[in-house]
Amino acid sequence: MDWITEILNVTWNFIVLFLNENIPLVVGSVKAVIIAVAIMSVVPALVWLERRLMGRFQVRLGPNRVGPFGLGQPMADTVKLLFKESIIQSSADKFLFHLAPAVVVITAIAAFAVIPFGEPFEVFGQTIEMWGANVNSGILFVFAISGMGIYGMVLAGLSSNNKYSLMGGLRSSAQMISYELTLGLSALSIILLTGSLSLVDMVRAQETYPFILVQPLAFLLFFIAGIAETNRAPFDLPEAEQELVAGFHTEYTGMKFAMFFMGEYINMVTMSALVTLLFLGGWNAYGLPVWPIVSFAVKVFFLLCVFIWLRSTFPRIRYDRLMTFGWKILLPLCLLNLMVTSTVKVIWFP
């Protein structure tokens, strides 16, 4: 039996040595797992919140049968979705059909990797940073990854071999391309103000006042474009139930269907976090005695409620109006805002 203990000892020593030499790697991996799991567990809670709030907004009760306040409803829904039969029609492109929902979820989670939610703190002599990664062009990373998310919808539309799905895919790509412009250009005025592409630097630049006070127009434009980018009502054209029978995910069932919604809700959280970081001062509490992370979470929660509020208030806009709105109203306003911002910055704050 001695040789077994010997082997175990050697392995144990090797593991300890490896961990000691690669502490940043270990900390990074743990953070990655925590962030990914946390962001996925937010989804059921968000679905519950949306259904309850929508119920209140529309003067009905919403889910209230499973558990107290219907809190068990998301659990019941998940179990139902997991046990549903996964139907793939015979004319679909199998590989792409499976790939599409995965692309949606993976890009949604990956975009959250660079979102910071608090100042770094020290534990056991290690500085733990409250972000997955501080990429020096963090905001561009988020835009790049959320741009890749379009392919999920496009591929779903293409591979389903269904007219309505194809229309949904077409619409989603056209809409995303149009509104990405507004999103990027309105963020550009914040980049001008901070002189950095890093999200952490942007929050630190807002220590005295949040940028919404000096850039209200950019905030409005960014938020509108954000709603369009996450395919939420009133810009949910790609999944218009009445015209497209749900659009790009018509042919999906069970968990694959649910994955599209997971992606949508995670994108919603990411977009709220971005708006918080860019315009509402991130984790800065402005004198209120709360932890930075609480301040951040409260702002994100408020924005999520606004998302839901907008969904239950506005009717879906017509497709041609969506395009006109994006290209003829939002884009010129963005350019104007950018021009004024850069002029003021060059003349008064060189």
Binding site: L140, F141, I145, G147, M148, V154, M176, L197
Partner: protein, 169 residues
């Protein structure tokens, strides 16, 4: 350690690049191209060019390929019939020109391979590959090519609008 990441990435890129050429369905080709561009972005990150990597994803893998997919969806190309890569139409002039290009590139690469000092790693300044450095280079050393390229793009854009407009009327 760096090679441990480089070789799988490079292999991934080569396989997908072959996939672009050899795939029978246009959608498959487009997806291989997207994958290859993502792999290239990974290699850029490995070379400390983070900004370039992100631009590669935003512009090529994001914007341009979405337009490709858009066109594929609009034309609704189907695989099958004789659009396979073996049956594709051959053009002698184009084949010769492509062959010449390949020979030229190989010649250049072999020149680099035989003269380069492989063992000495390049020493990079801290600011290498950041937005500030790239912006400064673009607007000082390369300002003329940069402006010419932007005028070219503008001309192409105006041309596209004019062409589309005459079709609409």
């Amino acid at each position: 350690m760096e090679l441990l990441i480089f070789y799988p990435l490079a292999g991934f890129c080569v396989v997908l690049a072959l996939g672009v050429v050899l795939n029978n369905s246009p959608v498959g080709s487009a997806i291989s191209l997207i994958g290859m561009m993502l792999g290239l972005a990974g290699i850029f990150v490995l070379q400390q060019a983070h900004f370039l990597a992100i631009l590669q994803i935003i512009i090529y893998a994001g914007a341009i390929m979405v337009l490709f997919m858009f066109v594929i969806m609009l034309l609704n190309l189907k695989e099958g019939d004789d659009t396979g890569w073996i049956a594709r139409e051959r053009n002698l002039l184009l084949s010769v020109l492509t062959g010449l290009l390949a020979v030229g590139i190989l010649y250049k690469i072999s020149g680099i391979l035989f003269t380069a000092e492989m063992d000495t790693p390049a020493i990079l300044p801290d600011s290498f590959g950041t937005v500030a450095t790239i912006g400064e280079t673009l607007f000082t050393d390369f300002v003329l090519p940069f402006e010419v390229a932007s005028i070219l793009l503008l001309a192409a854009m105006v041309g596209a609008v004019v062409l589309a407009k005459t079709k609409l009327d």
